[in-house]
């Protein structure tokens, strides 16, 4: 029997605007919120929405992502019929192709989708932080008798020209699509989450592939083609928390929002909509005598002897005595040595911050930079890392990096 809906998750993005964080890591594998990686959100949404078959399209730096996904067990996606499958580009009799665009990535995996004979395919993006029940979206799609639906978010008008915008009529039927327009006619931004009737998607993918001038992209090619043909296309309004964490500042901001679920709308403490992740397996965290922890999230394996304020510490972070961490995101296994002051910054995994080092600074009128230390970096004792620094290699003791 066929599946009603399967998910295809686009996880090939390089995330080049995350610089040091994504040099050896695909963007969906970037750690988030204390114990998660970005991809945990769409995967958990799938499972919580009853979708048990997910294809993950990978391309850029897939090693960490592949290992992380494994057999899919942490998300309950190790299934006899379905489950999670990592789908890298592969060699075919006619030669091998990298994924040329988002549409081409799906096109190259038509055979995978057909194995499950789905009625609907939901296309997801692996680089967003969002808790969404895809069942509601599918219900909308069916009620509208749509052939294509796109989830949209209202954005402020003044920012609308940064997004792909859906112009729709009073019945939510899409009449026009504007990709980052100068004069926006709508403030409904596409979230890059689509539901297609599979027969329609297959037809347009095949046509698109035959067009040598196409860039094989959903936004640039597939959606305009659907519009051209007057297909039944609808906008589904989503009003929950959604964040594209494509930049250092948005990634930092989203982590800070996790600390304030009452106001930000991103609540990880939701028993009914858990976000699953691969577990660190570490012991409980410890706050020692004399340590100060305020307004923060602390994960298993942490040892805090210093001061932590309004920060997110991932699994196994060590904060030595006299060190101060404020407004910071410190990823798994990093060590902040005695006397270091770490503020308003992102510290990636397995970083060592030497004694009496200064990393980042609280924002001022002139500068609100989020200093970033890439994975595995060692910062020598007494070094100073400026608030706009992007550090991807070791820093010697006493050195200054702006």
């Amino acid at each position: 029997m066929g599946k009603e809906m399967i998910a295809m998750l686009l996880a090939g993005g390089q995330g080049s605007r995350l610089y040091a964080l994504t040099q050896k890591l695909a963007k969906p594998a970037v750690p988030f919120g204390g114990k998660y990686r970005i991809i945990d959100f769409p995967l958990s949404n799938c499972v919580n929405s009853g979708i048990d078959t997910v294809g993950i399209l990978t391309q850029y730096q897939p090693l960490v992502l592949n290992e992380y996904i494994g057999n899919g067990q942490p998300w309950d996606l190790d299934r006899l019929n379905g489950g999670v499958h990592v789908l890298p580009p592969y060699q075919q009799a006619s030669g091998s192709d990298w994924y040329k665009g988002t549409a081409n990535a799906i096109y190259q995996n038509i055979a995978f989708i057909e194995r499950y004979d789905p009625e609907y395919v939901i296309i997801l993006s692996g680089d967003q932080i969002c808790k969404q029940d895809y069942r509601d979206f599918l219900k909308f799609h069916k009620e509208k008798n749509a052939e294509f639906s796109v989830a949209v978010m209202e954005v402020p008008w003044e920012e609308a020209s940064r997004f792909g915008l859906m112009v729709s009529d009073e019945n939510d039927r899409i009449t026009e699509f504007q990709e980052k327009p100068k004069n926006p006619k709508s403030n409904l931004a596409s979230m890059g989450i689509y539901i297609f009737n599979w027969d329609i998607l297959k037809k347009y993918l095949t046509e698109d592939e035959a067009d040598p001038n196409s860039s094989n992209d959903f936004g640039n090619n597939i959606i305009p083609n659907l519009l051209r043909d007057g297909r039944r296309m609808y906008s589904y309004h989503f009003s929950g928390y959604w964040k594209d964490v494509g930049t250092i500042s948005s990634l930092w901001e989203a982590n800070m929002e996790v600390l304030d679920p009452e106001n930000s709308g991103i609540n990880l403490f939701d028993e009914d909509w858990k976000i699953f992740s691969r577990n660190s397996g570490m012991t409980g965290h410890k706050i020692s005598k004399g340590a100060v922890v305020e307004d923060s999230m602390i994960t298993d394996g942490c040892r805090v002897d210093g001061t932590v304020k309004h920060s997110v510490l991932f699994a196994g972070v060590k904060v030595e005595k006299g060190a101060v961490i404020e407004d910071a995101v410190v990823m798994g296994g990093s060590v902040v040595k005695a006397g270091a002051v770490v503020k308003h910054c992102i510290v990636a995994e397995n970083v060592t911050i030497g004694e009496n080092t200064v990393v980042g600074a609280m924002p001022t009128a002139d500068s609100a930079g989020v200093a970033t230390l890439g994975p595995g970096v060692t910062v020598g004792d007494g070094a100073k890392i400026g608030p706009n620094a992007m550090v991807s290699s070791d820093v010697e003791g006493g050195a200054e990096v702006c």
């Binding site: 114990k35 067990q73 942490p74 600390l259 012991t283 409980g284 410890k286 706050i287 999230m297 602390i298």
Partner: protein
């Protein structure tokens, strides 16, 4: 890792020493008593066996084992989902014995046909009342190298207070006299001051020998492996002690349960117990622990999933504990999903799972007598 010549299967007795902690074992068994903020007692021997390459492990449960089944599931977290072997839970009436067993002999007799049909040359047996990061492979190697018939692990320690007070019908502790590694005498419940060679109830012997011993003892109506068999076996068995110098947390009473948890607030102890090899446990997919503005925490160990808004000091918090605004928690062990409501003030309290301490409630146990609050209770 085990080499190909010395294969062993594992047997764990999850109900051993239940009687020493009646409060905690009332709704569960020794093996599923929560320990060290996110573990259960069985995690330690089970992880140790798994880490030592023992992947055919039988649990001979006696009673109250629902919580253990829930905890272990298929055994995946311990890497014990195997086509051959893996984790097998034997309920007491699985084969020929009656509803409950008394002593190891009848428990083992219950699975004697299973034991006969296995391929492993050796058997490693353990209880679950000790949290220890034990290298079973090293002990097995020592056993094989020594030529002993039976090897029993022990540590040098003063007798725990809980054991000194033991008067239960089927709770025994054993101490040894040794000459070199050889055990020359075994004593049962012998209360002596000073350091003793105290058995850890971890045994290694050949599977064939175990079957022989159990068959012979069972027909003669003997019940206890150590008291009724080993203590009288010096004429025909060479028994060795295997001294263990690592960190041992032995649960022998509610008080020792409290103390052994609290000892882990000292990093040296925590590292000694956890750093040599990983200890696995059931995954609960909790979010990280959240300290809300105004929270104050000092000298605590806490698992994921807690929300702390009040003050907490010198305490162990298990997964999902909530300490509300203005609440004060000092010298407490709060098990999974305990809620301490706003303004409550508690000290020297052990709360079991899902306990609730009501608003503004004040409650104090003492250092020598911590108060225990049962599962799901509201104070």
């Amino acid at each position: 890792m085990l080499n190909s010549k010395t294969s062993a299967l594992g047997i764990i007795f999850p109900n051993s020493y239940d009687a020493t902690v009646p409060e905690l074992a009332n709704v569960r068994l020794m093996a599923s008593i929560p320990f060290a903020s996110r573990y259960r007692m069985i995690d330690f021997v089970l992880s140790g066996m798994s880490n030592s390459g023992i992947d055919n492990i039988s649990l001979l449960v006696n009673k109250n084992y629902h919580s253990l089944m829930d905890h272990l599931g298929s055994g995946r977290e311990w890497d014990l989902v195997r086509k051959n072997g893996g984790l097998t839970l034997f309920p007491p009436n699985a084969e020929k014995t009656s509803l409950h067993y008394t002593g190891r002999i009848s428990a083992l007799e219950g699975i004697i046909d299973f034991l006969r049909s296995q391929k492993e040359e050796y058997v490693v047996m353990a209880d679950a009342n000790i949290a220890v990061n034990f290298d079973f492979a090293a002990m097995l190697d020592a056993h094989v190298a020594s030529g002993a018939d039976v090897t029993i692990a022990y540590n040098e320690t003063e007798l725990p207070d809980g054991y000194k007070k033991l008067s239960g019908e089927d709770s025994f502790y054993y101490t040894f006299n040794l000459e070199g590694d050889r055990i020359t005498e075994i004593f049962v419940n012998r209360n002596r001051e000073g350091k003793q060679n105290l058995s850890m109830s971890i045994f290694v012997l050949k599977r064939e020998l175990l079957i022989e011993i159990v068959d012979a003892a069972f027909v003669r109506g003997l019940r206890y492996f150590e008291r009724d068999v080993l203590m009288n076996a010096f004429s025909y068995l060479k028994m060795n002690g295997y001294k263990y110098d690592g960190y041992v947390a032995r649960i022998t009473s509610l008080k020792s349960y409290f103390d052994e948890n609290m000892k882990l607030l000292d990093d040296a102890n925590l590292n000694a117990l956890f750093d040599t090899a990983p200890v696995y446990t059931k995954i609960r997919d909790d979010n990280p622990t959240r300290y809300i503005a105004g929270a104050k925490a000092e000298n605590i160990m806490a698992a994921d999933g807690c929300v702390i808004e009040g003050e907490v000091e010198n305490s162990i918090l298990f997964r999902g504990v909530k300490i509300e605004k203005g609440a004060k928690v000092k010298n407490c062990i709060l098990m999974q999903d305990t809620v301490v409501k706003a303004g409550a003030d508690i000290e020297y309290i052990i709360t079991d799972k899902n306990a609730v301490v009501s608003e503004l409630k004040t409650m104090r146990g003492t250092d020598t007598y911590p108060i225990y609050v049962t599962k799901h209770a509201t104070v």
